[in-house]
């Protein structure tokens, strides 16, 4: 009789535990599915956010390509980046106008989007992962462009200056300090004049190279001292010249990107407490 009672208690306990287990499993499953529904709803919203973001990015890339007058490309064997533009760049007005119109249109139709035009005043182009910035120091459309590296992780500059209206009369090299960094200057014009100089320099020392144009005008090419090979090209002439700056890396390109400045596009969804802040990839 005692044995039977014990069996009964054990059976009751057993059933109780099995039921408890089933109940916990059911609760767990219920909670997981509720969470999963919430997550999928969030994913859907985030998808929409990135959809809007990427369409704005694509639009801005198109504006850059069509109106900035800046041509960016990789070198033949992808061992460097080439940036070509007129100095001063007379397309700056068209670019800024297109950008402001686009910004107004986007912000009107997508209240969650904000495009910060301040980041484009100097229209910096950032080469990553090398972290080299090509920028217009005095503002986009002015006489000076600079290449600002954060460290010396590249090995050459090739600069071509082309004059449409003035004759090029020569290249005047200001310093003779030697090093292992290749600097090549080519100066040509619409009249068939051609000058070329190539030297191995020390990028931590100061160099000033003048591309001489007729009427004593010149284009100053400077390597600034103790600045990881920082380069400056300034057109002192009244006429427009075309500058083609090629930055050579120590290796063949692998995942190098060229983008506009960071934090340019901001898409925010306060309800989701999430935002996507980013830039525009050009190449």
């Amino acid at each position: 009789m005692v044995k039977m009672k014990k069996k009964g208690i054990l059976l009751t306990l057993g059933i109780f535990f099995v039921l408890m287990l089933l109940l916990s499993l059911a609760t767990l499953m219920y909670r997981t599915s509720i969470k999963s529904i919430t997550r999928t709803a969030e994913i859907e919203k985030i998808d929409r956010m990135s959809d809007v973001y990427f369409s704005v990015e694509r639009g801005m890339k198109e504006i850059f390509e069509q109106t900035s007058g800046i041509d960016v490309n990789f070198t033949e064997f992808e061992t460097g980046v080439i940036i070509t533009e007129d100095i001063p760049n007379n397309k700056s007005y068209e670019f800024n106008l297109s950008l402001m119109n686009f910004k107004a249109f986007v912000e009107e139709n997508f209240p969650e989007v904000y495009i910060d035009p301040l980041y484009l005043l100097n229209l910096p182009l950032i080469i990553r992962p090398e972290n080299i910035t090509y920028t217009h120091t005095d503002g986009f459309g002015f006489q000076r462009v600079q290449v600002i590296p954060q460290e010396l992780n590249f090995n050459s500059y090739e600069i071509e200056i082309y004059s449409f209206t003035d004759n090029v009369t020569g290249i005047q090299w200001g310093s003779n300090a030697q090093g292992d960094f290749r600097l090549k200057i080519v100066a040509t014009d619409a009249f068939g004049n051609y000058f070329e100089k190539e030297r191995y320099i020390d990028p931590e020392k100061a160099y000033v190279i003048d591309v001489k144009l007729l009427n004593d005008n010149d284009v100053k090419i400077k390597i600034l001292p103790n600045a990881n090979g920082m380069l400056e090209v300034e057109n002192k002439a009244e006429q427009v010249v075309t500058s083609k700056i090629s930055i050579g890396f120590n290796y063949t390109r692998d995942g190098t990107d060229l983008t506009l400045s960071d934090k340019l596009i901001n898409v925010t969804y306060p309800k989701l407490k999430s935002s996507k802040i980013g830039t525009v990839k050009i190449i």
Binding site: S33, I43, R48, S55, E62, N109
Partner: protein, 159 residues
């Protein structure tokens, strides 16, 4: 002894049955409880499966919904990348849209531009169906010139 008792219960008449307790009707009560237990267990398992199925079906439909929105977005991106949207021509866009839309999907586009152009392309949205939508901005470029800015809203559903 046990066999004798069992045969007695089996051979007893109606009157005897009325007198006997339920214990006597179901002499093998262990079997009865076992069956009851199994039935209860099956019931529980069924309830759990049904609940799980209900919720996973709900999950599946949200995933389908995400997939559908992505599909619509891809189609609009394709139209943009192939410069079809730039034409702002209803016929050209419809032709390309029909070309890229699978038979089991229905899609409708509403395009509005900064210069007040407005286009509606595709079939009417059906009633009583799950319809997903999304919105994108695009630039109208013609002959290398930026002419306009547009917003394309797409609606997509399963036929």
């Amino acid at each position: 002894m046990k066999t004798k008792k069992q045969s007695y219960y089996l051979n007893c008449g109606t009157k005897d049955l009325q007198r006997t307790s339920s214990r006597k009707i179901f002499p093998n009560k262990k079997g009865f409880i076992f069956t009851l237990d199994a039935a209860l267990a099956v019931l529980f398992v069924l309830i759990i499966f049904m609940t799980a199925n209900y919720y996973t079906r709900a999950d599946r439909s949200s995933i389908e919904s995400i997939q559908m929105t992505r599909f619509g977005s891809d189609m609009v991106t394709l139209l943009d990348n192939t410069d079809v949207l730039d034409t702002l021509d209803s016929g050209t866009i419809t032709t390309k849209l029909n070309e890229i839309t699978p038979n089991n999907y229905g899609i409708r586009l509403r395009i509005t531009t900064a210069n007040s152009d407005s286009l509606t392309i595709g079939k009417d949205t059906p009633d009583g169906r799950m319809i997903n939508s999304g919105k994108k901005v695009f630039i109208v470029t013609q002959s290398g010139q930026i002419n306009d800015y547009g917003v394309v809203q797409y609606y997509i559903w399963l036929k």
